[in-house]
Amino acid sequence: MSTLTIQNVKSDYQGQVILKGLNLTLEQGEIVALLGPSGCGKTTLLRAIAGLQAISEGSIAINGQSLSADGVFVPSENRGIGMIFQDYALFPHLTVSDNILFGVKDLTAKERSERLEDMLQLVKLEGLGKRYPHELSGGQQQRVSIARALAYQPELLLLDEPFSNIDSQVRSEMMLEIRQILKQRNVSAVFVTHSKDEAFVFADKLALFKEGGIVQHGLAEELYAEPIERYVAEFLGEGNYLTVTVKSPTQVSSVLGLIESTKTLNLALNSQGELLLRPQQIDLQPASQGHGEIVERRFLGTICHYWVKVGLQTLEVRSQLTALKLGQKVNLSISAHPLVIF
């Protein structure tokens, strides 16, 4: 049974449609990232799940129990949902311990202190229980908010851009740490972010948002390798778009010559399309008679990012060959892979 089931959820605010019919399911222990630019409705959906935002149509259910649907509205405080906020929302007037135990009910004093110790240990904040939030670093505050959200054992954890206030140097470390905590407890989580990098690191699955709807939902690798539309491809990484003509179910022709596909293309013969080529999918070989010329380069350490002019088009290429100079003629080749053509 899936933890979270969202069906055809619509929401509008002052006549403006914010969510236009969303479907999403989440399995027990899964972490899904709601990814998209700001204003696309991902935070609205998160709040709707938490019961902080009304929906006008559709239904939201956890473990088969309906939370929001026609004539049903379970108030936030009875949904058993944990939430972590962008600004952590720690109560400034309470100590770390009191913050963590804020939502814990129906336990004896002994159980409460056990729960507290368990949580402090989980988030590696042993000994800091007496401190106040303002005496902690940003990362520590973040961990307190996680401990607080997990302490009352919610069915589902919601995270609203939780890493945007963390220093970029420690961000991915932090994400892995927290991901580990969630996995360790087998917690289902919905995570809102506008950063694909965060989504890749933290989530099991992605749900990419566009103007109040989910464009594509699935494993990160799937979305990256097989985006169903150009918006998805562009959002998840840089790419070149090459005009190609379908020559056979596994072959297209382009300015770079024939390119092989390892998967059958569902396109009519001789139809034209735009082929998505990630910069690392293009190979470079220096050649004095090459049909391309390097017009710009940027050194990135182990690799180098080149802008290569081919005919009228400029392609972006990432290559392990870091010594190529401006003006160098090169040959470009593309190894066979499942082609993505829009």
Partner: protein, 347 residues
């Protein structure tokens, strides 16, 4: 919806309890026993308390006296049949008239009162009684003017241009004076008189009667209008004695009708909860002993014919009082106020 009546009974109950506690604690601040007498007084409490204490000693009836400078009539009117007031003491005649006009007092049929208080000092309908009287005097500078034998009419004469000081003419004491002028001369002539007096003012009407005497002492003006008892009060105040010593107290209109008299008085409230005891108190206030001390504390003249004023008051000399019955002033009260508005006396 799972939460029903969240704000519900519990919170409301505690709020309501708090409210009740507040209201009852407020009530207790002003509560009085039901059989006690309540006196609403325009005269300050310390002036009347000694006499009322005497009354309590004699009769065993407790008296609560509450003082207000303004608005007692308005308040009794608003309180209507729920008013706790038994007896109203006023500091002047116009306040008595206000009570009568608003139908807030009721007549008393007491032979004691009618015997003690002369006819011209009580209402023909027995619904109010004067207790003490005072003269609206004209004070003159000892140095610059000397003792005067003038009339109120003279105050409008050019001789005193820029030399007169007075308090607001909207004050009841001055309104009563204007009313008496109307009674003697009619409205048109009084209006001319008011314009003349206004033209003679050294400054815009302001302050109280004492402040006018002080102004004479300082040389701001030569003539001040003021009640007789203020002279006595200043004489007995160490700081103000020098003010009083700078002026003569003059009794106007001695050559003709006599000086304008105003009175303080009392009346029985229409809805008095304890009418019988209230009448006992009123009778007591007209008795020799009360008359003597009530007049004495405020340096006034007792209305009861055979009671003598205090030595100091007597020392200002005998005078002839205007024989106009006091209630005649009432007939001209509204006219006086309107005239004052018309000539913008205070503005």
């Amino acid at each position: 919806m799972q939460r029903q009546g969240e704000f519900g009974m519990k919170s409301f109950k505690s709020l309501a309890l708090l409210g009740l506690a507040t209201v009852s604690s407020m009530g207790s601040m002003t509560a009085t026993a039901a059989e006690d007498l309540t006196v609403y007084s325009y005269r300050q409490a310390f002036l009347v308390e000694p006499i009322l204490e005497k009354f309590t000693q004699d009769t065993g009836i407790n008296v609560n006296v509450v003082f207000a400078k303004d608005g007692i009539a308005e308040r009794i009117a608003r309180e209507g049949r729920l008013s706790p007031a038994d007896v109203v003491l006023t500091s002047d005649f116009s306040r008595l008239m206000e009570l009568v006009e608003k139908d807030l007092v009721v007549d008393v049929n007491s032979d004691t009162l009618n015997n003690n208080i002369p006819e011209q000092y009580r209402s023909p309908e027995n619904d109010w009684y004067a207790l003490t009287m005072r003269v609206r005097n004209v004070y003159s500078s000892k140095d610059r003017v000397g003792k005067l034998d003038l009339s109120y009419e003279d105050l409008a004469s050019e001789e005193y241009r820029g030399k007169i000081c007075t308090r607001s003419f909207k004050h009841p004491y001055n309104i009563a004076l204007v009313a008496s002028m109307i009674a003697h001369h009619g409205e048109a002539e009084t209006k001319t008189w008011l314009e003349g007096v206004k033209a003679n003012l050294a400054r815009k009407p302001q302050g109280n009667d004492r402040a006018q005497v002080k102004a004479v002492k300082e040389g701001l003006c030569d003539i001040a209008i003021g009640n007789s008892y203020y002279f006595g009060k200043m004489m007995s105040d160490p700081k103000q004695k020098s003010w009083a010593e700078a002026v003569y107290i003059n009794f106007p209109n001695q050559q003709n009708r006599g000086s304008h008299i105003n009175v303080s008085g009392m009346a029985l409230a229409k809805f008095a909860p304890n009418k019988d005891n209230a009448i006992k108190l009123m009778e007591f206030l007209s008795s020799d002993v009360a008359q003597k001390s009530y007049a004495e504390v405020n340096m006034e003249y007792p209305v009861k014919a055979d009671v003598k004023p205090s030595e100091m008051v007597a020392s200002w000399g005998d005078f002839k009082a205007d024989s106009l019955p006091i209630f005649k002033l009432a007939e001209n009260h509204q006219a006086a106020v309107k005239l004052l508005d018309e000539v913008k006396f205070d503005l």
